[in-house]
């Protein structure tokens, strides 16, 4: 009686919890790791621009002079490349979707100036010259410090 084979399952469905949700009254809990939207920890960002160069759809714009980090969420495809590429691990994927909007907009974050570290120990390279006072001697904001090239005490 395969003609009625599906009947049992269909009839049984009448006594089961519905498979569907009464959205928007009911919503599904977002699983951990859902690709919702990108969030940034502004305090950790060093404006290196790696995320901008990694993004396949040019959704991120980093401006060092203005100290801003912008994302066009309508262009972002939630691939997570920027999260994996960020050297400071300041980007993450939040498991919630942004609310719908009738207008295309860009989310802009201003990146605060970094606090200068307290004065270093005497006799250290940094303490003797003001050149590297705000950074470690070999790195300045993720880029090679060109000022360091001509430094007389550099080992050659």
């Amino acid at each position: 009686m395969s003609e009625f084979g599906l009947g049992r399952m269909t009839f049984g469905s009448l006594f089961k919890k519905p498979e569907t949700l009464l959205y928007p009254l009911e919503t599904k809990p977002a699983p951990e790791g859902l690709k919702g939207h990108i969030v940034i920890k502004v305090d950790d960002c060093i404006l290196c621009g790696i995320c901008e160069r990694t993004c396949p759809c040019s959704a991120i714009k980093v401006s060092k002079p203005d100290r801003t980090w912008e994302i066009n969420r309508f262009q972002c495809v939630q691939c997570g490349s920027c999260v994996r590429a960020c050297p400071k691990k300041c980007l993450s994927m939040d498991p919630s979707y942004t609310s719908p909007s009738a207008q295309i907009y860009t989310d802009s974050f201003s990146i605060p100036e970094k606090e200068k570290p307290a004065k270093a120990e005497p006799n250290s390279l940094a303490s003797e010259t003001t050149l590297f006072a705000h950074q470690s001697p070999c790195q300045t904001a993720g880029r090679f410090p060109h000022e360091f090239i001509d430094e007389s005490r550099r080992s050659r």
Binding site: P56, Q78, S81, R84
Partner: protein, 362 residues
């Protein structure tokens, strides 16, 4: 002799969500010729390889088609890996097989639902899609996306599946299998379904070979060809793999092959989950493909063999990326099957071939 009439079919048609247009030349109720036309969703994605680097192009590749999304990202990544001589960790290969087979289950369930909808069996359609939804929930939990997974990278995968998630996957699949057996019973034995499929749209084994058909369409005409049998990547770890074939060559055989492939895929996932080794899920990939380096790769997509070709030019942008998708292989077979069929059977025949026009046009 009666007068020939041309009936346009598609690109928007209630039974076929794909933008395929056919000019059906009919005499009385019989189709004497079918002239296909494609090109409604061409997006030029292969050309984009010139402006996206080889890592970024993964996200373009997986947008070629929504249903084969994971397969395209996998096929592309494997091609670039062989172009650059990258060795992928074993665990990543297993994970790729698990997600790829889950994609096949979801694609076949979607197709079974559409076929049921085409012959007016609405409750069967609902049950197929109800089960498919559980596969999408697995994707959502393990990758963070339901359709576009963005989980493959050149050199491995981006996310791992932990032991508790793996147990949950197996548990969900066992639940699906239970209900699926009943659906399969109806698909294969119900009189009203068989009336629409048995003996309709026959194509012989010889014609299938001559027309270079691939995938379940060819296997339903007893062409024992399935790329998984070559044992690329994680498929090499399977204890046994035999392509599932049928001999009838009609719509019924095509339904049967796909129905059985769902169970085969579930068995593969279970085997992979039981055997998965611990270890890394990706290796760092540095450098660019060498100038003039070429690589080709084949992958069994839910609709059949998909061929990938890539050529490097010494930069991080590829010189050329080419895909030959299963549906473009199957169009010749589809036109041949349609010749001589009844007008009322056209939708059933096209659906059992399961064309994917987004893949074909890229």
């Amino acid at each position: 002799m009666s007068k020939a009439t041309i009936i346009p079919f598609g690109p928007q048609h209630p039974v076929l969500p794909e933008p395929l247009h056919l000019d059906l030349v009919v005499e009385d109720e019989t189709v004497v010729e079918a002239i296909p036309q494609i090109g409604f969703v061409h997006r030029g994605l292969e050309k984009l390889v010139e402006t996206r680097d080889y890592n970024q192009f993964i996200y373009v590749a997986e947008r070629i088609c929504g249903i084969c999304a994971f397969g395209h990202s996998l096929g592309y990544a494997e091609t670039v890996e062989s172009l650059m001589g990258v060795e992928v960790p074993k665990r990543a290969e297993y994970l790729r097989v698990i997600w790829h087979e889950l994609s096949r289950v979801h694609s076949h369930l979607l197709w079974l639902g559409l076929a049921a909808d085409a012959f007016g069996f609405e409750s069967l359609f609902m049950h197929c899609w109800r089960l498919r939804e559980r596969i999408l929930d697995i994707f959502e939990k393990t990758t963070g996306g339901r359709v576009i997974l963005s989980v493959v990278s050149v050199g491995g995968v981006n996310r791992d599946i932990n032991a508790s998630q793996m147990d949950e996957i197996i548990h969900t699949l066992e639940g699906i299998e239970h209900d699926y057996h009943e659906i399969m019973q109806v698909m294969l034995n119900d009189g009203s379904v068989k009336n629409r499929t048995v003996g309709v749209g026959y194509i012989s084994h010889e014609s299938a070979l001559d027309l270079c058909m691939v995938g379940p369409f060819a296997r339903a005409s007893n062409v024992a060809y399935d790329v998984r049998m070559f044992g690329h990547g994680g498929y090499g770890e399977l204890s046994d793999f035999q392509p599932l074939c049928a001999t009838e060559g009609d719509c019924y055989a095509r339904v049967k092959v796909r129905c059985e492939e769902v169970l085969q895929s579930i068995a593969i996932i279970k085997e992979m989950a039981a055997k998965i080794p611990a270890g890394d899920i990706a290796v760092p990939v540095k450098g660019s493909p060498a100038a003039g380096a070429e690589a080709a790769n084949v992958l069994e997509q839910p609709r059949g063999e998909c061929y990938y070709y890539a050529r490097g030019n010494g930069t991080k942008y590829l010189d050329r990326m080419r895909m030959r998708t299963p549906t473009s292989q199957n169009l010749a077979g589809m036109v041949s099957v349609l010749e001589g069929c009844d007008l009322a059977d056209v939708n059933m025949i096209i659906l059992t071939i399961d064309p994917c026009i987004s893949c074909t046009e890229r």
